[in-house]
């Protein structure tokens, strides 16, 4: 039996496979298909301080080997989450990780303070990389000073494992990773979506109500993999990799590039079972390669 246990600082996962925020609802929808306790963690959909309706329809456009989304953090706000959703999901036997969003540093602090009180939330993923909101979001994640500012403040009120989710829409992602590491982030997760755009040539209009949206899926995998490798070589904290992972081979590539764990996003739309299949596929890979523990492949790329 190979050992799939993965540690993100103090947080222990039964395996390195998580779902990505915004692609797996509040875990309940996946639990309609299978027992989510098969997964290392489920990232909950992005939460903000107040109710957000999100952006107008259409919010989605298919692209070559990928998709654009412009959901814009639709959610009912942190209080609704705590009162109505958390009680329903808190006993799932997996790690639930909250994805915290804000338009201002104060927003981030307040949401974090509230989530921090919930015993069955294992960790907080600080999303400073949402490209689909007018204020805040990605704006925090594309410059070092703002990334530092928000991480610094949130760290003070967050006693749980703190993961900072990075934007790929930057010149030097390693620099941002180092900056948030310096503020006490326990881990960085990357990448969020790439800012992209799609057009209906016949109608001469954008396909998204917001004109631009976030690109995800296999199309972005080569860039995401490169970024994970760069960040892994720049920081000491564990890296969580994602971006276009569709199968176990993809997941293993991210781990070889330096990811301690992976998140699976858009693939879930293709097939909600993919995260579970990836767990099996990693186990199988380790057995075939006669490795005892999944930690042995983390950063094991031979250059």
């Amino acid at each position: 039996m190979v050992n799939l246990i993965t540690k993100i600082k103090d947080l222990e996962l039964k395996n390195p496979v998580m779902t990505a925020s915004g692609t797996s609802g509040f875990a309940e929808e996946l639990n309609d298909f299978y027992d989510v306790s098969l997964l290392g963690a489920v990232l909950l959909k992005g939460i903000t301080l107040h109710n957000r309706d999100g952006n107008l329809y259409p919010r989605m456009a298919e692209t070559a080997s990928g998709m654009l989304n412009a959901v814009g953090l639709q959610n009912k706000g942190v209080d609704y989450f705590i009162k109505h959703i958390y009680p329903r999901i808190k006993d799932y036997d997996t790690n639930l990780i909250a994805n915290v969003n804000g338009s201002t540093v104060e927003d981030y602090i307040e949401v974090t303070e509230k989530i921090n009180e919930l015993p069955n939330i294992s960790a907080i993923e600080l999303n400073i990389s949402c490209p689909n909101v007018k204020e805040g979001g990605m704006a925090f994640g594309i410059s070092c000073p703002s990334a530092i500012a928000v991480t610094h403040e949130v760290r003070k009120v967050c006693s749980k494992t703190l993961i900072v989710k990075l934007s790929p829409n930057v010149t030097d992602i390693a620099e941002i990773a180092k900056a948030v590491e310096g503020q006490g982030a326990d881990s960085v997760s990357l990448v969020n979506t790439f800012l992209g755009m799609a057009i209906d040539a016949e109608k001469r209009i954008p396909l998204l109500s917001t004109v631009t949206g976030g690109l995800s899926g296999p199309a972005i995998k080569p860039i995401a993999l490169r970024m994970v490798w760069q960040v892994y070589n720049a920081v000491k904290i564990p890296v969580i990799g994602m971006g276009g992972i569709m199968n176990a081979t993809d997941a293993i590539e991210f781990m070889l590039a330096g990811a301690s764990a992976v998140q699976v996003g858009t693939a879930i739309f293709k097939d909600p079972f993919i995260p579970v299949q990836i767990v099996d596929g990693i186990e199988n890979y380790l057995e075939r390669h006669k490795l005892n523990s999944v930690s042995e492949i983390v950063g094991a790329l031979q250059i």
Binding site: E29, D32, M60, E62, A64, V71, F269, K270, P272, F273
Partner: protein, 258 residues
Amino acid sequence: MSKKEVRDFLIIENRPLNNSNFFIKLKSNENLPDLFPGQFVNIDIPEQNEVFLRRPFSIFEVDYNDNTISLIVKILGKGSKKLTEIGIGKTLNLVLPLGKGFTLPEKSDKVLLVGGGSGMAPMLFLAKKSGLLKGQVHLLIGARAHSDHIVLNEYAEYGHFFYATDDGTFGEKGYVTQHSVFKHSLSDYTKVYACGPLGMMKAVAAEAKSQNIFCEVSLENLMACGFGVCLCCIEPTTKGNLCVCTEGPVFNVNDLKW
């Protein structure tokens, strides 16, 4: 909510119904879950370089005896076209059952089902499943021209059919909402259901609303996941932005912001 599944089906029929709509029958090895009119399946399109996401299609017919489901597929773009080209004996991977179906009519109801194109599929399923007498079910079917009409004689036993075409080549000339059944007798019905082009559904809804008649429509918003996790398919409603894939695709028109 019943457990959802990802399941392979075998294509056992794939044939044109008219110049743009196909009938596709799929068979499973195992028992089917309960499926209701208005529910849909999400299909992984094989062997197509340019289609990334699944494509949703309403359930048209279900046979629990031989574990088959049938669809009516209209060729709209790359994915639907590919579906109609895949040969018998090949496998399709489906996510099902998805969405909430129509509110089934009561024994006392007299219903009008308004459909167009592939929007026929859930209307015919509903007619069959309604449990009403033929006289209680009127189906008003619209199309551009005679050649675009899907005529399925075996459904004659489930209701009375009325036809409209834009060019008058079959049934009455004009839109469904200009059809005599709709214009003059709408108030005869206790429930109106519609599925088809958005413009048609909006016109039907407006009339039903103004006459205070119960009316449900089935929306076809663009979907990424089909099971409620992506929030891409939302429709603004009186209860906020709701997912068409889980809170719909069937909505009471009173809840919509049309």
